[in-house]
């Protein structure tokens, strides 16, 4: 993740690389969770915030993280990829932390969040999604790095 800042990626190396192939599926699932988590949190905060404030705020935070991951994965530029790595990492840490918290202290969560019980209410998809996201981003970073190194001799020859 230590790309030189001033050199923009060549146009030939597909700025949309993170949203094609398996990334197509990842963006779809991330978009689904972005919509469902943030919409659910919005309704809950608007209608019955005092019932379970911690759970609803954590749901809203999860929704924001999912939105950020969806947008950056769909964008795929080098800067967006770095933000995507960050948001997927935060997401993974969030699932583990909130999952453990909800198991250890159920009284704080009278109503479920996306991440309580490690995402058990959503078929544990929230638990595996950031893992696949980070693996995919690592694959894309390596592919981009390989393209850059193979590009340099060509550019040298052209000059």
């Amino acid at each position: 993740m230590s790309e030189p800042i001033p050199s923009p990626e060549p146009a030939a190396s597909q700025p949309d690389s993170t949203r094609t192939g398996p990334g197509r599926l990842l963006v779809a699932v991330y978009g689904l969770f972005a919509l469902s988590a943030s919409a659910r949190a919005g309704v809950q905060i608007a209608t019955k915030f005092s019932h379970a404030p911690v759970a609803y705020l954590l749901s809203a935070f999860a929704g924001a993280v999912y939105i950020l991951a969806t947008v950056t994965l769909a964008n795929g530029s080098p800067a967006a990829r770095r933000i995507a790595v960050l948001s997927c990492s935060v997401e993974f840490a969030g699932v583990l932390a909130v999952g453990t918290w909800s198991v250890a202290d159920p009284a704080t969560f009278p109503d479920a969040t996306v991440w309580s019980g490690y995402g058990s209410g959503y078929g544990f998809v929230p638990l595996v999604l950031p893992v696949f996201g980070l693996l995919w981003l690592r694959h894309c970073a390596r592919r981009a790095a390989a393209q850059r190194t193979s590009m340099q001799p060509d550019e040298a020859r052209m000059r």
Binding site: T20, G21, P22, G23, R24, L25, V27, A28, V29, G31, L32, L35, A39, R40, V43, A46, T47
Partner: protein, 154 residues
């Protein structure tokens, strides 16, 4: 398929309570029958579409007309269900979580449309994988709708 177990007031909230035994062939009981059949059909269709799409992904196939046609059928079924639920809301029925239900009514018909466009942009096996997600999501949304408003029987 427990449409017979609802009391007449739930089958048709706007109808006056029946004096004698519930009539069998009124409009109300008809709607009740459909409202059980359509959600069940959507669940079956969504799961079948997801299974077929996953098979296409496993066989390394791209998006094809069969998948798009399946999405179209799913979309029509979802629109029919939304129409039936809206009719019931207009008829005076009110679930506990009305804002959530309205959100579902807006979001549910968008699922096959967005999945169709997003999957059709992909020229690899991962296009059908997006359709598989849409099929599974449609089935899950019906179960959630039933939880939000048990009148929507499955």
């Amino acid at each position: 398929m427990n449409q017979d177990s609802y009391p007449p007031a739930l089958i048709c909230p706007s109808c006056p309570p029946a004096a004698g035994p519930a009539p069998v062939t009124t409009k109300g009981s008809n709607i009740s029958f459909v409202s059980a059949a359509v959600p069940t059909t959507i669940i079956v269709a969504g799961l079948a579409l997801a299974g077929y799409a996953l098979l296409m992904t496993a066989l390394n196939r791209r998006m094809g007309l069969v998948l798009l046609a399946g999405l179209g059928v799913l979309e029509i079924l979802l629109l029919v269900l939304v129409g039936m639920i809206v009719a019931r809301l207009i008829g005076g029925g009110r679930p506990a979580g009305l804002p959530t239900l309205i959100g579902y009514l807006i979001a549910t018909p968008l699922v096959p449309v967005i999945a169709g466009f997003w999957g059709a942009l992909e020229r690899s096996r991962w296009g059908p994988a997006v359709i598989a997600v849409a099929g599974l999501v449609a089935a899950v949304l019906i179960v959630r709708l039933h939880e939000i408003w048990p009148v929507i029987s499955v």
